[in-house]
Amino acid sequence: MEQRKLSVPELKEKCRLLRKHIIEMTTAAGSGHPSSALSMVEILATLYFGGVLRYNAKDPWWRERDRLILSKGHGCPGLYATLAEAGFFPIEDLMTLRQLGSPLEGHPSYRRKLPGIEASTGSLGEGLSIGIGHALAARLDGLGYRVYVILGDGENDEGQVWEAAMAAVHHKVDNLTAIVDFNHRQQTGEMWDVLDIRPLADKWRAFGWETLEIDGHDLEQVADAFARVRRVTGKPQVIIARTVKGKGVSFMEADFSWHGRAAKPEEARKALAELGF
């Protein structure tokens, strides 16, 4: 099912709205990872509102839907906000994040059957492998869907990511696209201080993936990358998106200690003011 494709100015506005939801819902919850969600907003907005993903919010388990697996599960406020804006569930539900009884758990939980959530993630390193499973099933069933998996850059520390990288190439899984949200910042500091994984694009290329590098906040570059990977056959593709952790909120951009912290109400007001609300 084709979604209406937003123009670049409309997408920009959608991104601003998603950032507002992310701040509000994590502040209401009193915890969460807003900065990890803010860095991938343009990627999520392009996937869901830029005509990339094929989905039907009213029939969320439609067999031929494209899949989006958020392997960096801690960034889920961004995905929840996107799914709500796309009509998978009511926007009011966002304010139940992390509360007992809410399917919007602290990390995505598949068994809650929240429309749009394709996998349980939060233990880093597993989403790409799960994505291969979905992609192989598409091949077996003769269905044309594509599978997108968003990974963190720190997640590339996990050995399983590279097990999956090798297997996807060997089995020519070309209906699979990985997106690395390369915000170069993780729980205890800058990536180059924790475990320097550079040059990351060279590593993915060496493993046999079609590898693109883009500015992950430039909507035209993001849309162009998704258009290009779709044309690749015979091998999986990875988009390494250079991003800024906490993008859009100056005090979150400036300090890595925001990894696992929500804004207090006063800080949230400042953040929303910066976003123009």
């Binding site: 068994r111 996998a119 349980s120 993630t121 597993e126 492998s129 291969i132 499973g133 979905h134 077996l140």
Partner: protein
């Protein structure tokens, strides 16, 4: 009367999986480059399009199976019991158990009876680990016929399962074409003085033990507790009530295996004196299987000794 020697349970698993593959096109297999050990090669030869060898990478193998299950496939993933449970435990947790995926996990080369390859290849923690995962059904069949029945049972059960099979040829306990109901123990002998509860290769040893005990005038009931989880509480309660003492025998470490599961049920429902025949709290070593089973206390004689000991506390 000595039991006739049969096939290895891994062989029976491989044959049963191929047969199930003919019946159900949704059955698929992900392999960690040990298909000629686990016998998934039989399936692979007949259904190459439904089989993927992903190399020596158990974590990736298990998570891929989780993704396939989310799309309605019935994936079997098989490797050595130690590698699939210990190496891929977090993937069994996050990609299978927690999202409630219909994945069938098969651990071959379980126990110390693999022999000469030694402790690094021996799965002796696997039952405890599998039982720790919410929603998992855990099955340890006794012989080739029970393994065929168990493979069919887990394939048709909707939910994650762990099936434990072994490397060496083992004695035949059941008739060809026998039936096995998950969660329901099979009573192989009736008796009044004590109940022996066993699974896997210890069932044949326990059968021999019941004969040795009969010679001493001790009447033993024998239950094949092929399903460790969910445990057959009804059979345990009946055994405790009717015989007043129980001995649990398994080819596994002491902690978290069949003995622990039976003892937990018994403590809650029907406490009676109990004894345990298992590996204790140690890693074994290389050696001929029969020598190892003797050295580490997993023979009919060891079961008899434990029964005698528990009867003194009855």
């Amino acid at each position: 009367m000595p039991l006739k020697m049969g096939k290895a349970t891994r062989d029976a698993f491989g044959e049963a999986l191929r047969e199930l593959g003919r019946e159900n096109p949704n059955i698929v297999v992900v392999d960690g480059d040990v298909n000629n050990s686990t016998r998934t090669e039989y399936f692979a030869k007949e259904f190459p399009d439904r089989f993927w060898n992903v190399g020596i990478a158990e974590s990736n193998m298990v998570s891929i199976a989780g993704g396939l299950a989310a799309c309605g496939k019935v994936p079997f993933v098989a490797s050595f019991a130690c590698f699939i449970l210990c190496n891929a435990f977090d993937q069994l947790r996050m990609s299978v158990a927690f999202p409630e995926m219909n994945v069938k996990v098969v651990g071959s080369h379980a126990g110390i009876s693999i022999g000469e390859d030694g402790p690094s290849q021996m799965g002796i923690e696997d039952v405890a680990l599998a039982c720790a995962l919410p929603g998992f059904t855990v099955v340890v069949p006794a012989d080739e016929h029970a393994t065929r029945a168990a493979t069919r049972a887990i394939a048709t059960h909707n939910g994650p399962c762990y099936l434990r099979v072994g490397r060496p040829n083992v004695p035949v306990v059941y008739e060809d074409g026998c039936h096995l109901t998950l969660g329901k123990a099979i009573q192989l002998r009736d008796g009044k003085d004590v109940t022996i509860i066993a699974n896997g290769i210890m069932v044949a040893a326990a059968l021999e033990a019941t004969d040795l005990l009969a010679d001493q005038g001790i009447s033993a009931r024998l239950l094949d507790m092929h399903t460790v989880k969910p445990i057959d509480e009804e059979a345990i309660v009946a055994a405790a009530r009717d015989t007043g003492a129980m001995v649990v025998a398994e080819e596994h470490l002491a902690h978290g295996g069949l003995g622990s599961v039976v003892a937990t049920a018994a403590a809650r429902l029907c406490p009676v004196p109990m004894g345990f025949v298992n590996l204790g709290d140690v890693y074994a070593e290389s050696g001929a299987p029969a020598d190892l089973l003797k050295k580490y206390g997993l023979t009919a004689v060891d079961i008899v000794r434990e029964v005698q000991s528990v009867l003194q506390r009855k």
